[in-house]
């Protein structure tokens, strides 16, 4: 596990900058190619373990992943370098687009395009949800917990903090009791 000498913060920053700018509609597939296949910083197994950890921690998955990887290689400086790399340039691009939107957003063609993109994005999210569901063991408690979350937030519009602070402990309790 002696990875610490291999990578410097500057290299982490540059690598994650590149990944941020390459990643349209999600950065993760690019991260795999670059980190595992090109740079060989992680094995495929270590990658999926780190990714799985990043996914159970709240907040943005790829950000958590970059923080953990950066920390593993060079401590807090590495974590900061990887996270900043991921954001800095894409945020610039997105704000550029948003500035254009402020000037031209009233045009019907722009509004129509953005509605079209929103519809596509909804489908993208649904496909992500279905892919996650397929990889899950099919249990009653998982089904109940998923449906309760969808109804509480999607239909009844309950505040997320209450929903998570209620359903997460219940889910943990049920899993701890029922999973052997």
């Amino acid at each position: 596990m002696d990875d610490s000498y291999k990578v410097k913060p500057a290299e982490l920053f540059l690598t994650f900058s590149k990944l941020g700018l390459l990643g349209f509609g999600g950065v993760m597939p690019w991260v795999y190619t670059e980190i595992v296949e090109n740079k060989k910083w992680l094995t495929a197994v270590a990658f999926s373990e780190l990714l799985a950890m990043g996914q159970i921690i709240p907040g943005a998955n790829v950000t958590n992943f970059s923080a953990m990887l950066g920390y593993r290689f060079c401590g807090l400086r590495g974590a900061a370098a990887a996270m900043l790399g991921l954001f800095t340039f894409p945020l610039g691009v997105a704000i550029g687009f948003a500035t254009l939107y402020q000037h031209f957003g009233h045009l019907e063609v722009v509004q129509g395009s953005l509605r079209g993109i929103t519809a596509i994005a909804a489908g993208l999210i649904i496909s992500t949800g279905i892919k996650l569901a397929k990889a899950q063991p099919r249990t009653i408690q998982a089904l109940v917990s998923g449906i309760l979350a969808l109804v509480a937030v999607g239909l009844l519009k309950f505040p997320l903090p209450w929903v998570v602070l209620t359903l997460a402990p219940l889910g943990l309790f049920a899993e701890a009791k029922l999973t052997r």
């Binding site: 941020g20 390459l22 349209f24 373990e49 950890m53 996914q55 159970i56 921690i57 709240p58 907040g59 943005a60 790829v62 950000t63 923080a67 953990m68 920390y71 996270m83 954001f87 340039f89 894409p90 691009v93 997105a94 704000i95 948003a98 957003g105 129509g112 395009s113 953005l114 509605r115 079209g116 993109i117 929103t118 519809a119 596509i120 994005a121 489908g123 999210i125 649904i126 496909s127 949800g129 996650l132 569901a133 249990t139 998982a142 917990s145 998923g146 449906i147 979350a149 969808l150 937030v153 519009k157 505040p159 997320l160 998570v164 359903l167 997460a168 943990l172 049920a174 899993e175 999973t179």
Partner: protein
Amino acid sequence: MNIILVLAGHFLLLSLIAVGGATAALPEMHRVLVTDLHLMGDEQFAHLFAISQASPGPNVLFVGLFGWQIAGLCGALVSLFAMCGPAGLLAIGVEHFGAGHQNDRWYVVVRRALTPLSIGLLLSSAVLLMKTSQKPMALGLTLLSAMTLLKFRLNPLWLIAIGAIVGGLGWA
């Protein structure tokens, strides 16, 4: 200044409860920023999200765009750091103390308990976004993108381009 603090508080809290990532917390951002605080309109909210999808970078960037719309560059940076900071620190803590424990029982239990929650929340976000347009073509685009991405490995940018064109023609 006040509005910056409001943004910071909102996203700091979200950072630690956003099970399933930033996208899963979209309905909560809508509830607070649009419905409760009236900091932007329904349409603007959806449009900024769409812009983030057409930009490169991690999904969570739309948080920066919401902040930017409400309070400029300072709002963007504060929102993004607030959304990513606490979760990032938690991730670092897990890496520090927990690396190599992926096969422990507690970890399997946590993952199995939280993933269904994430899925329910992600679908809630999709429901929110699908309300943006009532046209049948918009529903068609949603189904097209979901089914295509389930069946094929395809860069979502192609679908986003199709959505932009179909929408630009006034059909969605």
